[in-house]
Symmetry: C2
Subunit: 219 residues, 2 copies
Amino acid sequence: MPQVIADISVSLDGFVAGPEDSSGRHPLGIGGERLHRWLFELATWRTRAGRGGGERGAGADIMGEYFTRTGAAVIGRRMFDHGEKAWGGEPPFRVPVFVVTHRPLPPRPMPGGTHFEFVTGGVAEAARRATAAAAARGKDVAVMGGGQVITAALAAGVLDELRLHIVPVLLGGGRPLFAEPLDPAITLETTRVELSSGVTHLFHRVPKQEGRHRCSPTR
Amino acid sequence: MPQVIADISVSLDGFVAGPEDSSGRHPLGIGGERLHRWLFELATWRTRAGRGGGERGAGADIMGEYFTRTGAAVIGRRMFDHGEKAWGGEPPFRVPVFVVTHRPLPPRPMPGGTHFEFVTGGVAEAARRATAAAAARGKDVAVMGGGQVITAALAAGVLDELRLHIVPVLLGGGRPLFAEPLDPAITLETTRVELSSGVTHLFHRVPKQEGRHRCSPTR
C-alpha cells in the first residue's frame, strides 16, 4: 500500500511563503526563495537536474530517496499556476500529478512523463487517485504543497507522514504552515530528525484515526 | 561573559499557548499543558523537585544542564502573574528573576533563593541586569518566556541562543511563537537537534549583529 507523504519547507517563524505571494511579482512571497535554496544545492537534486556537485549528507539522502519513491504527486492549483511557467516544457515531476482545484482543465500529458490531472473532488479524491497511480508503480504518493493542500490533507486524515524542512530564516510574515486551524485531536508522532546543511528535517507519522478531522467548535 | 539563552516549548502548529489563555480559567490556554508535560516527566526535573524516576536521555540531559548553568532569569509579567500562585511560597527558580513589566512592584525576595525584580526599561534592560547577576555567579541567563518576551529579546538583539522544544501536538489556535513580525535580516544558525521522548530540541545561535532589529516597513 503506498504511503501518502507530505513534504514542505517552513521558516523558523512558521511561514511556507513570504509576504505578498499573491501579487504575481513574488510567487514565493518576498524572501520565500530562501526556503528552497537548500534543496537546489543538494547533490541529489543537481544530479536529477543533469548537473554535478552539490551538498552531500542526510538532506541529500532524504531527498534522493524522495525522488526514487515518488510514484504520483498531489499539488494545489496555486502551485500549478505559479509553477507552470518555471517548470517549462518538461516539468520535473515525471509522474502523474493530481492538481486539486475548483476550476478543472483537461488532462495534460507532458514530455518527460509528467501527466497533470485536475481533480475537483478535494484533496481526499486527489489522494485516492494518486494512491492508485502510485500503487501501479509500487511507489508512494508525494503531497508537495502548498500549505493549503497539506493542511487539507492532514485535516482530511489522508496523510501517513508529514515531513517538515525547517529553514532557520525569518520571513516576518506570509503564508503560515497550516492554512486553517487543525483539530487538536489529530495526533502525530515525531519519528526522526536530521540536521543537514543547516536545515532540520523533522519527520512525523500520522497514525490513521477514525473519521475525518475538521476543526469543530465542540471544545 | 554569560550567554543569554531563550527556551520555549512550541506546538507543531506554532503556538506557545492554547486558545483562551487570557480568560483566567486556562493560564496556558486550552490544551496548553500538553506543551509542558515532557518537561515534568524528565528525570532531571523530578530530581530537582525532590522526586525519583522519570525519563532519561538527551532531553533530560539538556534540561539538567539548563538548571545547572542558569544564574539569572528573565520572564514576562504575564508569566509572573499566572505563575505566582502555581509556584507557591518557594518558587522553583532559585536565582534572581527579572520581570519585564510596565507595572512595577517592589523587589520580592522569596525563600529558596528566588528574588524577583521588576524592570520597566524593557527586555534589553532586564537582560543587562540579568547578565550582571549571572556573571557574578559565573553562569548564564535564561529567558524563560513567554513568547512575547522571547520575541522582544530576539528583536532587540540580546539573545545569544534560541532553543525551541517542538512538541508534536496541534493546539488549533492560541498564542503564536513570535508575538510580532520579526525582521528577516535577523540571522540564525541551527547548531544542534535532538529527538528525545518524542520532543525535538532545536538549538539556534543568534550571531551578534549591528544595531537592533525591529521590523521596519522599508521592504
